[in-house]
């Protein structure tokens, strides 16, 4: 193991050559280097999160024909620091009737859950990932649920009505969207045949394709669920400002509030990172340059891959913000409708249909089982195989799922609002006619 790591050039190897030989190899490679990686990742992601708050304000300002923060620092660039300082020196209020212990712990739970996941995310090729766990995806899903638990605890412990409603909404939302989110990720896993984050990216590299093309429906479902999972508009019900004043964090102030705030943005980063890893090829930037660099300049390739990874994540985060400032908010029951009547059936259909295409592809009887080698990294699938998979995913899967969903929701109130409106008018006309007869 150590010998294997020794062969990898880059910062770890450099660290070995710099540190005295009295420190054993395993300490260097398994303790010091990961700790440095964690510190750097934490620093980068936390700075990113801080600047996401500024980005949110700037993007909302551009959408709303304003300028956004401009006073603190040039172009408002020091605004996150000012906000953080302000929140730090605010009074930390714990309501008299609150459950003090839980009230104190709840934001920490959210925060810890959001930060822990950062360890698993593959930031780039080569030496960039901190660790590679073989159940990484399950680990991330589990921890994102723990983050929601922090919200529920906070709402409950506040012993106040608005936070309580926020917490209840949050728990319902967690249950309904977690399911669809997990199911949406199964589709790409069928192609990658691994749960390890690095493995998933490598599988996409090996196949020379991003799974968003194989799983367009899965990606859509995942993205919608990610919005809901991180309490972003149009699913920001737990903190719906206009209904529940502040939702679960109504009673929180000062630094505890900022912990929730940071946790929300860190969770946004995490779900975007998963989307990038699973659907958008992770750090992969494809093309001949990528392969040339990967073979010759390993470290340059790694650095570029890290930048590419963060670039893709930022692109998704931009979409998160764009959605927030465009859409109105769903109502609680409609949120449940979307979760249970649309997303979960759609993700189930996606799994079944993906499996069907897979089996059919393997057993096509013309003597060329072109999908046989899938997930084995032996050879990238050829053009006909890709065309078959992409075509079936885009045309047939989406069409069939749409048919299924519309048949499920045929009688749902929200499915066809126009028909609903017509019925309403018809009923009223009948009632008026009756009144006229009497």
């Amino acid at each position: 193991m150590t010998n294997l790591l020794m062969q990898i050039a880059g910062p770890a190897g450099w660290l070995r050559s710099v540190l005295p030989q009295s420190i054993s190899d395993s300490v260097v490679y398994d303790v010091i280097w990961p700790l440095i990686q964690i510190a750097v990742a934490l620093f980068i992601v936390m700075t990113l999160v801080a600047y996401l708050t500024l980005a949110e304000r700037k993007i909302s300002a551009w959408i709303q024909s304003r300028m956004g923060p401009m006073r603190v620092g040039p172009w408002g660039l020091l605004q996150p620091a000012a906000d953080g300082l302000k929140l730090l020196i605010k009074e930390d209020i714990i309501p008299l009737l609150a459950d003090k212990a839980v009230f104190t712990i709840a934001p920490i739970v959210s925060m810890v859950a959001a930060i822990t996941v950062l360890v698993i995310i593959p930031y780039g090729a080569g030496w960039a990932p901190i660790t590679d766990v073989n159940i990484a995806l399950l680990f991330i899903l589990a921890f994102s649920s723990v983050g929601t638990l922090g919200i529920i605890l906070g709402g409950w412990a506040s012993n106040s009505k608005y936070p309580l409603l926020g917490a209840l909404r949050s728990s319902a939302q967690m249950i309904s969207y977690e399911v669809a989110m997990g199911l949406a990720l199964i589709g790409p896993l069928m192609w990658s045949k691994t749960l390890s984050m690095v493995g998933i990216v490598n599988a996409q590299n090996g196949d020379h394709i991003w799974y968003v093309f194989y799983q367009p429906l899965g990606f859509l479902i995942y993205f919608v669920c990610a919005l809901a999972e991180t309490n972003r508009a149009p699913f920001d019900l737990p903190e719906a400002e206009s209904e529940l004043t502040g939702g679960f964090h109504t009673e929180y102030s000062g630094f505890r509030f900022s912990l929730y705030f940071i946790a929300e943005y860190a969770a946004m980063f995490t779900v975007s990172a998963i989307a990038v890893t699973v659907f958008l090829g992770g750090w992969d930037f494809g093309g001949l340059i990528g392969h040339f660099l990967a073979n010759t300049h390993q470290n340059v390739y790694t650095v570029i891959s890290i930048i590419v990874f963060f670039g893709k994540v930022l692109l998704l985060l931009w979409a998160f913000m764009w959605f927030r400032w465009t859409f109105p908010r769903y109502r609680y029951d409609q949120l449940m409708d979307v979760g249970w009547k649309w997303l979960i059936p759609a993700s189930l259909a996606n799994i079944v249909l993906t499996g069907v295409w897979f089996v059919i592809g393997i057993s096509i009887p013309d003597g060329k089982p072109f999908l046989k080698n899938y997930g084995t990294y032996i050879a990238a699938p050829g053009f006909p195989a890709k065309a078959y998979v992409i075509g079936s995913a885009f045309l047939v899967t989406i069409t069939l799922t749409a048919i299924l969903l519309s048949s499920i929701n045929k009688h749902s109130r929200d499915f066809n609002l126009r028909t609903q409106r017509q019925l309403q008018l018809q009923k009223r006309a009948e009632r008026l006619a009756e009144a006229g007869n009497m």
């Binding site: 206009s242 209904e243 409106r421």
Partner: protein, 388 residues
Amino acid sequence: MSITEKDILKIAEARTRIEPMFDTQEMTLNMGPQHPSTHGVLRVVLKLDGETVIDLDCDIGYLHRGVEKIAENRTYPMIAPYHDRTDYIAAVSNGLCWVETVEKVMGLEVPKRAQYIRIILTELNRITSHLLWLGTHCIDLGAFTIFLYAFREREEILKIFENYFGARLTTHAFRIGGFWWDTYPGFEEQVKFFCDYFPEKIKEYEIILNENRIWLQRTVGIGLISPEDAVDIGLTGPPLRGSGVNYDIRKAMPYEAYEEMDFIVPLGKAGDTYDRFLVRMEEMKQSRNIVLQALDKLKETEGQPVIAKVPKVIKPPIGEVYHSIEGPKGELGIFLVSDGTNKPSRMRIRPPSFINLQALRQMCIGHLVADVVAIIGTLDIVLGEIDR
């Protein structure tokens, strides 16, 4: 030890006596007076079963200033600013209602030119009021961006107000008998500029909202009120017309020069929040049309006086009068008792928001908490007017 038949009976008996482990009870939720979307200091006491509203009670009076009583101790011109501030969103309309009531009791005939300017200003004020309604309604439903778009357009009108009366929100526009000043140079161009620029902005809102699935889901079928109930409760303005009742005082009992204006009264069909939304959007377009027509008439009356012959001390003859105009929020009326002195003996305001708020309970029961916010928004209430 074996289980005897007696034990089984005991268990069965215990099962029939099983009570729920926890008590269930309705939750009483105090919405307001400090709440982001009760549009001021309205306090709504909600009784909730889960998130469903089973009962609702409004508590008002947090903004009571006693305008009606104060009016008894002020001379007629002095009352006008007080009355302007009852509905601070539509101060120009409020001012119009007051001066017209006094003119009615005095039997004053306002010059034509003044009437046109009044129409232009009140219709512009209707647009500002509806824009503010649109913005806050959208915020209530979570669409924050429209709010700032609406304020951007509102700003153009406020500039006109600022140039004319020196104030943007708390305007004091009219004098009894007409105006003190004619329009300022460039007034017509500025109004024309706004009218040219406004339709495309309305289009922008319609693109964002009219066919938006979430918007439709949040508004269609929410806060239904039948025309009969609407008439019974005494709703006026867009909430009444949203239910399909054709009653607009500008058409029914025209005041000023509204007879000469050509406009249609938009009507809803189903009487839900979406209909009221459409009605108000159409009303803004119609207001713009009226402004353009009045602007043409204004050019014809160039150089004519803008104020009637008004005595220095206003002492209306003894009498009672009720006069109402179509304010942005509904029928805005004043009942005035004059005892022949320079102060009214009694002034009573009929605020549209106050009457429209009566419908809240009926509209909300059975809906969810989120809908209560939407319905308060669609009623377009202003607490300054409700509490007076």
